[in-house]
Symmetry: C2
């Protein structure tokens, strides 16, 4: 296992300590229980947007805490859900009096724990709503989910929902924007290599030198099929076509095209995938109005990529373009 770590059991805490020190101008970190909050939280009169999930997907979610995106994020252990008390304490810490929205990737553990946190919070007088992200078209039901998995769309949902909250919209409106993003977005991913969870110490699965896994999740869980490695253009088509057919996206749709790296894939390769994804989108007469390329939701050091399409209207475009100031995503300010 080749990793820049000390003891496996200290990875999440030590990484969070470094994160806290590096970004003290934007965020503050609570360690017991662990959550990251906007430095200026709670923001009076603003819906508090809270997400979280297993660690190992950095910069998701902690990297997206800050003005215009998340008010708080709860990091779990690697690839496993944070606990209800993390979510509860994070929610209380960012409650500005306008309610709290939980953005939940659709994994059984996350769902269960966020639900329990919401119940506990309501018992303490918090107003809490939730929105689920389940954009992965690769599989229905999976190793860790009932229904589809939440993957790349999560980043877009956190950005757009956070911008809606920043406009001081009501909890109901903010939740509905997030649900709209989820209903208009679809993703699919693939892996060239596996990844190793530090406290397990060996790769999550074996992937021979000449094979790839199409339809992979973000925890190394199985996808649709295993195939001999093909060209970037062929791989891109294998991801784009199911995504486009699923909603379906139709000629004339305005879309955001997001090519995401899984952690171990060079940025230069993501642009090769983007190039072909754009060409396929144009072939379907989709209007790609916004582009997003980089490693924004990862699986440790896994090599591979995912593609996300999000249908856009004027409101979603305005919210996507709105200023954001977080450790991992920053523009307009």
């Amino acid at each position: 296992m080749k990793k820049l770590i000390n003891r496996a059991e200290d990875v999440v805490r030590e990484s969070l300590e470094g994160f806290a020190a590096a970004h003290a101008d934007l965020i503050r970190v609570n360690f017991e229980p662990a959550y990251v909050a906007r430095r200026d939280a709670p923001v009076n009169g603003k819906v508090g947007v809270v997400s979280g999930g297993g660690s190992g997907h950095e910069p998701l979610h902690s990297g997206y805490v800050g003005m215009g995106m998340l008010d708080a994020a709860c990091p779990g252990s690697i690839f496993s859900s944070p606990t209800p008390d993390q979510m509860l304490e994070a929610s209380k810490a960012v409650d500005g009096g306008a309610g709290i929205l939980h953005i939940i990737k659709n994994y059984t553990g996350d769902q269960m724990n966020f639900e329990m946190a919401a119940e506990l919070g309501r018992a303490e007088g918090l107003e809490i709503d939730s929105a689920v992200i389940d954009d992965d078209v690769a599989v229905t039901d999976s190793l860790y989910t009932a229904g589809r998995r939440g993957v790349g769309l999560t980043v877009l949902a956190e950005k757009i929902t956070g911008a809606a909250a920043e406009e001081r919209r009501s909890l109901k409106e903010v939740a509905n924007i997030c649900r709209q993003v989820n209903s208009w977005g679809r993703s699919m991913g693939m892996a060239l290599t596996s990844c190793t969870v530090p406290h397990i110490g060996h790769p999550m699965f074996d992937l021979p030198e000449n094979e790839m896994e199409i339809g992979i999740g973000i925890h190394g869980e199985p996808g649709r099929k295993r195939l001999p490695i093909q060209s970037a253009d062929e791989i891109t088509a294998m991801l784009m076509e199911p995504v486009i057919q699923d909603l379906p996206y139709r000629a004339g749709d305005r879309v955001l095209l997001f090519v995401n790296g899984m952690g171990g894939t060079p940025l230069s390769e993501l642009y090769i995938v983007y190039r072909q994804a754009l060409s396929i989108a144009k072939g379907h007469r989709l209007n790609v109005e916004r582009s997003f390329v980089g490693s924004y939701i990862t699986s440790l050091e896994m090599a591979g990529c995912s593609i996300t399409l999000l249908k856009l209207d004027d409101t979603l475009i305005r919210l996507w373009d709105a200023p954001v100031k977080t450790p991992a995503l920053r523009w307009g300010i």
Copy 2:
């Protein structure tokens, strides 16, 4: 070889095509000869800041083209210098009448070609100066250099020099700021794994499962020594101490601390390294006033990291903090 590519000989061009399409709001790409320029270049009355080098280090250099940083970047083949005609045409394209500064990483090919481009440019009436980056304390002379290699400091130099040019300083002043950054900055890197150049098809070097290379360059060229893998804290000390001793940095110095990923290392691990690097810096009573953590100068999919220290004064801090708007680095605007 597990890569998201089509034909090996098309990697640089196809990646550049995707880059051009994804960031058309910020940059424009010329393909014959290949260079990336600010969309609004030439900027009248501003020194044009031009860099470039082998591809495979993305987002360096093309990702740093835009307001407040580079006016143009010339991508060579993977790990090999761009040609003089690329540098010449890029320089002409961004000449706003205040002269051109070439920022050159200290590799023999880059030096020779930038020198030739400068001669050709002067023959055509351009005013061209140059500044060299050679911050790597690991080795004197190397496989590809006379003298030290240019590594992580390049990113900081491009940011700060670009900001100085944006202030409409003279060519002489802009060049001197870049030289000051070079004289005040030091770096050292290490690798856990090798990387594979597409047209070569096999790893640049072998690194057994239990070994690491300390003092690695950014092309897989040999470093100082090969050792059994140690903890992140021990590795961080092996990089920080030689860096601190070299300038040397002294108690009370104000510094920027930059922990860089080599491409295949998860962001979470970089924060573990940052955490210990900060602790060591504090142990030497350095005042870490700015922090920078991420994969900003890479070696394809190599796992590993580098650490850069840059001594700061009020001017360098103001230039570092100044607005920047490029595909890979953006803040304040």
